[in-house]
């Protein structure tokens, strides 16, 4: 699992990794060359680079939030309600409202910057949880024939609920909090991930080298972890990127409906939910959170598509 994370992280930061590759030139030639070709291909893949850059930008914004905000994102200033973008604050408040203020006089710019944190935390949390749970279920179902049918039946049943509705039902049981959003979206996204892992395992387990491992008396856990899991990594990384994107969208959707992140934590979906009620008075309040949300999801989708192109040998041949 640790291997997977470091790999996907290093891909997310590919533009930075270029210096890293140059630095590894002193390593044994074979290893250095293999790495270089992957990053070379990555850097030549336009959408992968664009996606990684957008995601990298959002990560930087989330990390530097305390420096970037110029107002407290949660404090309401009644005297400056519905300030237009680039408007100056009414005294005693100070500073410029780059993206205007909302119905409570909260600074939209600072809230959008702060909102990146919740989006990324939920995305990361959900994709980690889904990767762990989905991999375990997928490996078990794919490898042990007896467990396949019951496990997949349960997964099918979970997929019978439209994601939003299952998440809504879980949130209504657990109440609004960031942890519960992560829990609800993880439950929603796990079955699909498990299906992907299972289908890869099913195709690998019939291969000759697995048969050879069996013949040599290698134990099942060892076959699964040493021989099957590494071969599932490519589709898993791709799928994890899409889970991340779906989780960011899911959190925004739940918060938009008012059952996601609690009101005191700024989130893009929640801001859009507020903006909806004041669309005619203050249309600017929906611009920044919507754009940020779409860019983040677009970045993740571009990155996922890019990694899939790069890792899928069939597509590679076709150029």
């Amino acid at each position: 699992m640790a291997q997977l994370q470091t790999q996907s992280q290093s891909q997310a930061q590919a533009p930075l990794a270029m210096q890293g590759t140059a630095a590894t030139a002193g390593l044994p030639a074979g290893r250095a060359r293999r790495k270089q070709t992957f990053f070379d291909r990555f850097l030549r893949h336009r959408s992968a680079v664009i996606g990684a850059s957008i995601l990298g930008f959002m990560v930087v914004v989330a990390l530097l939030t305390p420096i970037l905000v110029n107002h407290d994102p949660t404090i309401a200033t009644p005297q400056s309600r519905f300030a237009r973008p680039m408007g100056d604050a009414t005294p005693p408040a100070t500073g410029t409202y780059f993206f205007g203020t909302d119905n409570l006089g909260r600074d939209v710019y600072s809230r959008v910057v702060k909102g990146s944190q919740v989006s990324l935390i939920v995305g990361l949390g959900v994709s980690l949880a889904v990767v762990c749970a989905g991999t375990m279920i997928g490996l078990t179902a794919g490898y042990f024939k007896k467990l396949d049918s019951p496990l997949m039946r349960v997964m099918d049943s979970m997929m019978a609920f439209p994601g939003v509705i299952l998440a809504l039902a879980i949130m209504s049981v657990r109440g609004p909090s960031v942890g519960n959003v992560i829990l609800a979206l993880s439950i929603v996204d796990t079955p699909r991930f498990a299906r992907v892992v299972r289908s890869v395992v099913l195709s690998i387990r019939e291969l000759q080298y697995i048969e050879a491992a069996h013949a040599l008396g290698v134990s099942s856990p060892r076959i699964i972890l040493r021989h099957i899991l590494p071969n599932c990594l490519s589709p898993m990384i791709v799928q994890a990127t899409f889970v991340f994107a779906a989780a960011v969208l899911g959190e925004a959707g739940l918060s938009f409906l008012g059952v996601g992140t609690p009101p005191e934590i700024p989130s893009w979906g929640q801001m859009l939910g507020d903006a909806r009620n004041f669309l005619t008075q203050a249309p600017w309040t929906m611009v920044a959170p919507g754009t940020a949300l779409m860019l983040t999801v677009l970045g993740l989708n571009l990155l996922g598509d890019g990694i899939r192109d790069l890792l899928d040998p069939r597509l590679r041949r076709q150029g």
Binding site: P162, G175, M294, N301
Partner: protein, 317 residues
């Protein structure tokens, strides 16, 4: 074929059982007391307890569930606690029209946009058409539906004032009005699915265009439309049937958000209301009906698939 049908139907039964049990258990675990909700904040503990007894809320979990199953078998979903004087089935039926129309229109939008765009993209592979269509498609997939909806409202209802801001007019007022109210919601809901369909149609088409029988069709001198539509598309569409079945779940879920954006009094908004008012039976009923519809639609899709693709029947029989 009949063995295939029986197998598919039998496979759907455990799914339905797990679905219904999950729905019941989930809502059973919800904190908050429906008796307290019905009687309001001034009710005395004695009266609350009396009502809990009458509603059967004091019985153990398995007794409540068996009773629920017993009623379910007779088509009785219970009474709604928040919609006055309505059974759950009635409350849902009253709100069904806008949701059914919205999801069907959205599916139509996604098919009309997605399939031609995918074909166009596959035929112009590697050229600017392909790049443009695929760029729009990935934008469509990444666009949060509610944000798209807000933008559409702003452009068409607030600025240009050509379409209504929000709300719904029933079919009894004439289908034209209904469509005027549903056009923006249907685009909002259908666009992302259309983008997804475009991507899938493209890859299916690319696959079938490389098949031997397509080469044969070219070789025997058929013109382009005959090859593309008659041979490649026909086979590419088979897997798309499955995708349409799956689209239904996505659209039903998305409808909750879309109805909220456009203030449409459909099942989705009813669900949000029911959650807010802790109307257990109603939430259960809605989630259950949607999940069961999904299972049935996918069963139907599987059967259609079996008819379209004889290989499938044999391999699984």
């Amino acid at each position: 074929m009949s063995r295939y049908i029986i197998r598919r139907v039998l496979a759907a039964i455990p799914v339905m059982l797990i679905v219904t049990t999950t729905v019941f258990t989930l809502l059973y675990l919800t904190p908050g007391d429906p008796a307290g909700v019905i009687l309001g904040p001034d009710a005395t503990p004695e009266r609350i307890n009396e009502l809990r007894e009458r509603l059967g809320l004091n019985d153990p979990w398995h007794v409540q569930m068996l009773r629920w199953y017993g009623k379910l078998a007779q088509g009785d979903l219970g009474d709604s606690l928040s919609v006055s004087n309505r059974t759950v089935a009635q409350a849902i039926a009253e709100r069904a029209e806008p949701t059914i129309l919205l999801t069907s229109l959205a599916l139509l939008v996604s098919l009309l946009l997605g399939v031609p765009a995918g074909i166009l993209s596959a035929l112009g592979r590697g050229r600017w058409v392909d790049a443009l269509v695929m760029f729009i498609a990935i934008l469509g997939v990444s666009m949060p539906s509610f944000w798209l909806g807000l933008n559409l409202i702003y452009v068409f209802a607030v600025s240009m004032r050509v379409l209504p801001l929000a709300g719904y007019q029933g079919l009894d007022q004439g289908p034209q009005e209904t469509i005027r109210y549903l056009i923006l919601p249907a685009i909002t809901l259908g666009l992302a699915q259309g983008a997804l369909l475009a991507r899938m149609t493209r890859s299916m088409m690319l696959e079938t265009l490389n098949e031997d029988y397509v080469r044969t069709a070219w070789a025997k001198g058929l013109d382009k439309p005959a090859v593309v539509i008659g041979h490649a598309l026909r086979n590419a569409l088979i897997p798309l049937v499955t995708v349409i079945g799956l689209s239904f779940a996505v659209l039903m879920g998305g409808a909750v958000i879309t109805e909220q954006v456009f203030n449409i009094p459909g099942v989705g908004r009813l669900l949000i209301q029911a959650i807010g008012r802790r109307d257990y039976p109603l939430v259960q009923g809605i989630v259950l009906i949607i999940a069961l519809m999904y299972v049935l639609i996918n069963l139907a899709v599987d059967l259609v698939y079996g008819i379209l693709d004889p290989r499938l029947r044999q391999s699984r029989a």
